[in-house]
Amino acid sequence: MLEIKALRAGIEDKEILRGIDLVVPTGEVHAIMGPNGSGKSTLSYVLSGREGYEVTGGSATFDGHELLEMEPEERAAAGVFLAFQYPVELPGVNNANFLRTALNAQRRARGEAELDAVQFLKMARAEIKRLSMADDMLKRNVNVGFSGGEKKRNEVLQMAILRPKLAILDETDSGLDIDALKIVADGVNALRGPDFSAVVITHYQRLLDHIVPDRVHVLANGRIIRSGGPELALELEAQGYAAVVAEAA
């Protein structure tokens, strides 16, 4: 379970998150929607431990771990996965080696046996097939020369292989055509189950047609101003953020 209490954070002297309270029970998928500049990406970076963000108050715990006190790699080993809005290119780093290194680092941190190259490739190829991705995905350098859609698919592939307990998807739908959107959604839906939870951050309702959330929260000005069921996303789509923000003010 992810439990965020009165979380305040920002960059340098600028406060962006002004007291976030959010509980995502294990097994649930929650969507966070909000206008540009509301703090959606900041929330995802603070939860995954990116440098440069200062936490000024509150807490975030995941399955009993104090997330905010952990290094990014410790959070990953604890089961937290961030799907990046802008996946980073790693020239000179082979995708298969990258994934195996990451998986084995996590397994080592958890005291589990590492996978050898043969075991890894067998598993990775099976995931690629299941996600209907191209075989050469593993052979290429990480995200180098990938189209926007391929980069997002690669995030989903990583998620499928790393099997996180909590996935945070930071506007993974931005810039995707409908086919890529479905692949991303299928990737998340395939992991859904009693031990998996996700926070799906999105600007648009479109993705939520394919990943139907248990709860929807509206983030504006660094606070969650409204929460509801999946129907809230439809309401936002119909009325726009301005109306909801004005209503809450």
């Binding site: 790699e73 790693l90 000179g92 990583q158």
Partner: protein, 421 residues
């Protein structure tokens, strides 16, 4: 330059000259050419920081050590030899600059001659360190490959030792002569223990359509000095394809002069310098395009930690006749510490009007976004940094076709990384 270092350069040069005076009756080879070298060295001395080509590399630390002639040692060097990569190719082993037939293998496909060097036409005595070498050269490998023969690969090993009780210097003189269409891969490994000065010169003559691949691992002892010069002449459609990995020594300089003398001759002068502590390493290239449609490629990567200093000087000279020259030079540096320093000096002198020459230099730290991306996937910070350093080097390493040599370089880089941790 202050008066003190001037004096120490002169004093050091005087001690090398005195060694020559004591040895000259015993040194074999062409005594006239050697006397010319001694004469040139007497006039020129050691290079000082006032000279443009040596502005970034001061020999002061070298001049503070008194180097002696190595005495003959018959140690079996078992540990040093066992530590060398086993690449399944014959080894020619030099200990303190002297050929050790008892530690070396027979070479097939090529003719090998060792002993006092024949200097050949490419004497280049105007180069001060080459003049020093020619004055004191006692031994070396002269490898000749007949036209049309693929001689496979040979490893040339230099081991420096501190078993003499005093620092020694050695000045081996090697040559590789490839006939038309011949091929050879020369894997050169320089290492040792203690304080010594290795000052080798390699003269390479690459005939028409021949290919010399020259892969070097400079992993000299931490207290050692290494100043080497390659003089490579490449004829029409010939290739001098080189990669130098420099990660050893206290003060080192690898200088390569490649002359592209025939149409479509080609030179690859790639390198990686990995430095830590107070190491100083210099990679200097001079490529002369002297014929039409010649090409040169240089990808030079530096990774610097601690208070180390790296130097890259790359000069491309294009003669008027060398139309359609294609010259490319890229120097990239990763600074892993705020106290490390890189001096990068590209120099293009172009007298032809239809050429394609480009050069670039970048200096940076590890990319914070890339580091976070790796860590967010569970890779610990130290390992993530290692992965990014290796990725940075891959552009220079990947083109090395000899898999065994490339693996040996990867292993040397991994060991270097371990030492920095």
């Amino acid at each position: 330059m202050n008066a003190v270092s001037q004096t120490s350069l002169q004093a050091s040069a005087a001690s090398f000259r005195a060694r020559y005076e004591g040895l000259k009756e015993r040194l074999g080879g062409d005594s006239i050419q050697r006397a010319e070298a001694a004469d040139a060295f007497a006039h020129q001395g050691l290079p000082g920081p006032r000279e443009e080509a040596w502005h970034y590399t001061a020999l002061r630390p070298l001049t503070e050590v008194a180097f002696h002639e190595p005495v003959v040692l018959l140690s079996d060097c078992a540990a040093a030899l066992a530590a060398l990569p086993d690449l399944g190719m014959p080894r020619l082993v030099f200990v303190d600059g002297r050929f050790r037939a008892d530690l070396s293998d027979a070479v097939t496909g090529a003719t090998l001659r060792t002993g006092a060097p024949a200097f050949g036409p490419s004497v280049a005595l105007g180069e001060k360190m080459v003049a020093l070498n020619a004055m004191l050269a006692e031994d070396g490998a002269a490898i000749t490959v007949a036209p049309g023969v693929d001689a496979g690969a040979v490893m040339l090993v230099s081991l420096g030792s501190d078993a003499h009780g005093v620092p020694v210097s050695f000045h081996p003189r090697h040559s590789v002569v490839l006939g038309a269409g011949a091929r050879l891969t020369l894997v050169e490994v320089n290492g040792g223990t203690g304080v010594y000065f290795n000052n080798p010169v390699l003269v390479a003559e690459v005939a028409e359509d021949a290919t010399l691949t020259h892969l070097r691992i400079q992993q000299e002892a931490a207290g050692a000095f290494h100043i080497s010069t390659v003089l490579a002449d490449v004829q029409a459609r010939g290739t001098y394809d080189s990669f130098t990995l420099a990660l050893g020594g206290r003060l080192s300089r690898v200088e390569v002069h490649a002359a592209l003398l025939g149409e479509k001759a080609m030179a690859h002068l790639n390198a990686a310098q990995l430095l830590g502590g107070v190491q100083h390493s210099d990679f200097t290239t001079i490529v002369r395009h002297d014929a039409p449609a010649t090409a040169s490629r240089q990808t030079v990567k530096n990774v610097l930690t601690g208070r180390s200093k790296g130097v890259f000087q790359g000069k491309i000279e294009v003669a008027r006749v060398a139309q359609k020259t294609d010259g490319y030079q890229m120097n990239q540096t990763l600074l892993l510490s705020g106290d490390a320093e890189i001096d990068s000096k590209p120099q293009l002198e172009i007298y032809a009007d239809d050429v394609k020459c480009s050069h670039g230099a970048t200096v940076g730290e590890l990319d914070a976004d890339q580091l976070f991306y790796l860590r967010s996937r569970g890779v610990p910070e130290a390992q993530a940094r290692n992965i990014l350093v290796r990725a940075f080097l891959s552009e220079a390493l990947d083109p090395i076709e000899h898999e065994g040599a490339r693996a040996a370089m990867e292993a040397a880089i991994a060991a270097w990384w371990e030492r920095q941790a």
